[in-house]
Amino acid sequence: MKVGVIVFPGSNCDHDAWYAVQHNLGQQAEFIWHDSTSLGDIDAVILPGGFSYGDYLRCGAIAHLSPVMNAVKKFAADGGLVLGVCNGFQILTESGLLPGALLRNRGLQFICKDVQLRVESTDSPFTNQLEKGSVLRVPIAHGDGQYFAEPATLDELEAEDRVAFRYLDNPNGSARDIAGIFNKQRNVLGLMPHPERACDPLMGSTDGLGVFHSMISAIPALTK
């Protein structure tokens, strides 16, 4: 698997994603600067966490206007895998690739801690190696992680089995405990928790590896 990690001004989990793919998974990863107009020869895109454009205006609101996002949208439309983590999830909702929005945490404070996530759907290129209903321990680190969408949208997400993960103990007030969702085509995943931080035994959990292993196993079929 060859992954492109997009670097926006203010991205700060770009290196962590790169390291997890390159060193913990033994796959290839490269950085793609935000003003690139093409993604080059890659199998998947990661929009990493951080504070793109300092979270000015709204989290992800400016980044989604970066030139590279046109290329990401085309890549997604062509069926390429796009994984947005934390600020990456916020950019995906701002750009319309995923429905809903991420609001300020219910308690108004930034929260960094390990949370428990229940795997809700294994029918996706990001979760096919996970067990439905299993519980993963993965860290969160965000101030704006409260997932919000209209009830009709939430109903649709649930009806179409597009909720990827739910919090066991909702830390931020997210609607229906949602931690991560797929797009309609299931090739775009956005989630607030950081799977790339849970890929190394020294970091205390390797539960994030499953997401990447799923992507690795899905890619040959996608690129055929």
Binding site: N12, D16, I111, C112, A141
Partner: protein, 737 residues
């Protein structure tokens, strides 16, 4: 403008200092020059009261690559890699405007680190606030805590550096003078370190980063005076930080350094453009000629005086190789930052400032950077203290030691600081092996297989009772924290927070504390590589406890760290170093005396430095041999508190110790040189102890769900671990929401 005595006084210069300026210049200074001198000769920039004493600290050693005098100290961490680190205070601004004061404190120390070419990889902070309840200022204190914590979180999280540890204590004396000391550490290759030493006559001086505004003018002078009622009107003197801009500046600087076109670089911190230019020039023995018309400006109509003294954040000054400017500009353009040539390196050792066709200042660099006043302020008196030596009659108010324990672990000083550190991203960069809540923070260095352990320690109560011993105990505890994780302490930085040095009894505290740091850092082989002095921490004549904060850095091979928490049932609980009693006089400095007895008396606990060192050596060997399943150093609150902190919801312990006629001293005494550990192999732990000539006490074993402490006849303490955890975790969320 004519320089009047009033104008001199407004600039916080004495008449003698002014006369010295006149003699150094050979003429009266201009108004602009007066401003420049006033900041460079402020206590904050010149260390005029502390310098002669700081010179006595040990600063060299096996691991030290760069000692004091640069933007940060540097140590060798092996395989061609070095670490740059320093601690700095932002006390005064944090009182006036807690959020921005603390945020820009983080920003300032981060710039000090990446100025040297090192990418920041860890931040810790040491905080002191007034009491959170029960005083007239408590509501205000709570607002300061919330503001400071969210300011630190805002800046560090956005910048992308993990805040991995620290300490936070509460005393009434910090009500008007909270302490915000921030430590940062970065790493880079040994041959890629940059220094702030200008050279190459004719080389361009380039300004990069944020535009200059009127914010922060005279911040350095403000930080060098006591607070009065008017201080709150100094809010405009506090700068406003933009961590996003700083993140861009970091990436751009590191990328620009790789071009090879940069000769020297320094951040614009206190006294901004003035200090960065004259210090870079002075270190290189050259002059700097600057045209202020070229400085990127945020506001219209700024005078030379305002531009020179502005402390606008996120700015750097660098010297590039002549003819290679474009290579530097290209990088900064990529990151969307201003980069402009504003001056040139000259051969006359002068700082020359031009504005609108006029020379507004022309000062020999050494006059500003080196010839500043140095005072040997009077200190031949006993250090200030009001507390009695002997315990006051009736201090033993309780005989219910279990409820005392619960009160102690729920007290603001000893309770869980989760409410604070959960607001910090302590994991970004995926290097954090041991984060907040550990004895020492440990981060791995991916590049060389080494891990760096860091701990900040200071105890104002100890230092108030005996500044020398208090400072030694801070060094010892910091080293003990590192050793508990298995790291070898190798170097230190310090932040000296004191009151008004013009009062001899306060100056005596400072001199004594520096003496203690000198003795202990020499003994524990942790030389001081830099630091910060914050004086005048007084409001309306009331000073803080003398509060030296030590930041010690240690090295270890990367491995899963030994946790604080008990891991299983049936492990032996061992006290390395032995029970080591304290007496009633020493007990007066304890958290028990503060929280339960409501008194302060006596002395800090005695410290045997050789014994302490041996305990630490033994501990490191025990960790290296893989014998410790959990480990926790004993400090505030003593044995019973350390045991409680090691308990989890699930695991407790069954402990038997001899109890005297004053069981509270046995349970809560704070004798140093003790580390609590659990092991499956007591015999081998004992062998190592014998080898280092230290005692161990086998206290009992871990068990499920309960903490029991007794003398073999009855349980003095017998409490469910879930109750302990609830008490430990509830305080700050309840007080701070």
């Amino acid at each position: 403008m004519t320089i009047t005595p009033e104008l001199i006084a407004q600039h916080q210069l004495t008449q003698a200092e002014y006369d010295k300026i006149v003699s150094l210049l050979g003429r009266e200074p201009s108004y602009t020059e007066l401003g420049v001198f006033s900041v460079m000769w402020s206590e904050h920039c010149s260390y005029k009261s502390s310098r002669i004493h700081l010179k006595t600290l040990p600063t060299t050693g096996k691991y030290v690559v760069q000692g004091p005098g640069e933007n940060a100290g540097i140590i060798d961490i092996g395989d061609g890699w070095v670490a740059a680190f320093k601690i700095e205070s932002h006390n005064h601004p944090s009182y006036i405007e807690p959020f921005q004061g603390a945020a820009t404190g983080v920003g300032g120390i981060l710039r000090d680190i990446f100025t040297m070419g090192a990418r920041p990889v860890a931040v810790l902070n040491s905080l002191r606030f007034g009491l959170l309840e029960g005083t007239a200022t408590s509501e205000h204190n709570r607002r300061i805590v919330s503001g400071v914590v969210s300011g630190i979180a805002h800046y560090g999280n956005c910048f992308g550096v993990p805040t991995v540890g620290g300490e936070c204590l509460f005393e009434d004396c910090y009500s008007g003078n909270p302490l915000v000391n921030v430590f940062a550490l970065g790493v880079c290759k040994a041959d890629e370190v940059f220094f702030a030493k200008a050279s190459g006559i004719g080389n361009p001086v380039i300004y990069v980063g944020a535009k200059t505004g009127r914010d922060g003018i005279h911040g350095a002078s403000m930080a060098s005076a006591e607070f009065t009622e008017e201080s709150k009107q100094k809010r405009p003197n506090v700068q406003v930080g933009d961590p996003f801009l700083e993140k861009l500046l970091l990436e751009a600087c590191i990328e620009a350094m790789k071009t090879g076109a940069i000769v020297a670089i320094q951040d614009m911190g206190a006294a901004g453009l003035t200090s960065s230019s004259c210090e870079m020039g002075d270190r290189g023995g050259v002059g700097i000629d600057i045209n202020l018309d070229l400085v990127p400006q945020r506001e219209k109509g700024m005078t030379a005086y305002e531009m020179l003294l502005s402390e606008s954040q996120e700015r750097m000054l660098l010297v590039a190789e002549k003819g290679r400017e474009e290579e530097v500009f290209r990088v900064f353009r990529k990151w969307g930052l201003d980069a402009v040539t504003i001056g040139v390196v000259t051969d006359d050792q002068k700082l020359r400032i031009r504005h609108k066709g006029e020379v507004m200042a022309e000062i020999p660099n050494p006059a500003l950077a080196q010839e500043g006043p140095k005072y040997d302020r009077p200190h031949n008196v006993a250090p200030y203290r009001k507390a009695p030596v002997e315990a006051p009659g009736g201090w033993r108010k309780s005989s219910d030691y279990q409820s005392d324990l619960v009160k102690l672990i729920a007290s603001p000083d000893l309770c869980s600081k989760r409410w604070i550190w959960q607001q910090y991203d302590y994991q970004v960069r995926t290097n954090t092996l041991a984060g907040p809540g550990s004895d020492a923070a440990v981060i791995r260095i991916k590049e060389n297989g080494t891990s760096i352990a860091m701990s900040l320690d200071g105890n104002g109560r100890y230092c108030y009772l005996d500044p020398r011993l208090g400072a030694k105990l801070a060094v010892a505890e910091s080293c003990r924290n590192l050793s508990t994780t298995g790291a070898l302490p190798v170097a230190a930085t310090n932040n000296l927070n004191f009151g008004n040095p013009e009062r001899p009894e306060i100056m005596a505290q400072l001199v004594e504390a520096i003496g203690g740091i000198r003795e202990a850092c020499a003994f524990f082989e942790t030389p001081i590589t830099g630091g910060n002095v914050s004086l005048y921490n007084e409001t309306l004549g009331e000073g803080i406890y003398p509060t030296p904060v030590l930041g010690i850095v240690g090295l270890m091979k990367t491995a899963a760290p030994v946790p604080v928490a008990f891991q299983r049932e049936g492990a032996a609980v061992v006290l390395l170093g032995g029970l080591r009693g304290t007496n009633e006089t020493e007990f007066g400095s304890s958290e028990y005396a503060k929280v339960i007895a409501g008194e302060l008396w006596g002395t800090p606990p005695a410290l045997d430095m050789l014994y302490e060192k041996n305990v630490q050596s033994a501990m490191r060997e025990i960790v290296a041999a893989g014998l410790a399943e959990s480990a926790h150093d004993l400090s505030d609150g003593g044995l019973a508190v350390a045991l409680s902190e090691s308990c989890t919801e699930v695991w407790g312990a069954n402990i038997q110790i001899p109890l005297s006629g004053t069981p509270e001293i046995d349970l809560f005494g704070e004798a140093p040189s003790r580390i609590l550990l659990t092991t499956g192999d007591t015999a081998r732990v004992a062998e190592i102890a014998v080898k280092f000539g230290i005692e161990i006490a086998v206290l009992g074993s871990t068990m499920k769900g309960q903490l029991q402490i007794g003398d073999g006849t009855a349980w003095t303490i017998d409490i469910a671990t879930s109750d302990l955890k609830t008490a430990f975790e509830s305080t700050l969320p309840a007080l701070l929401h």
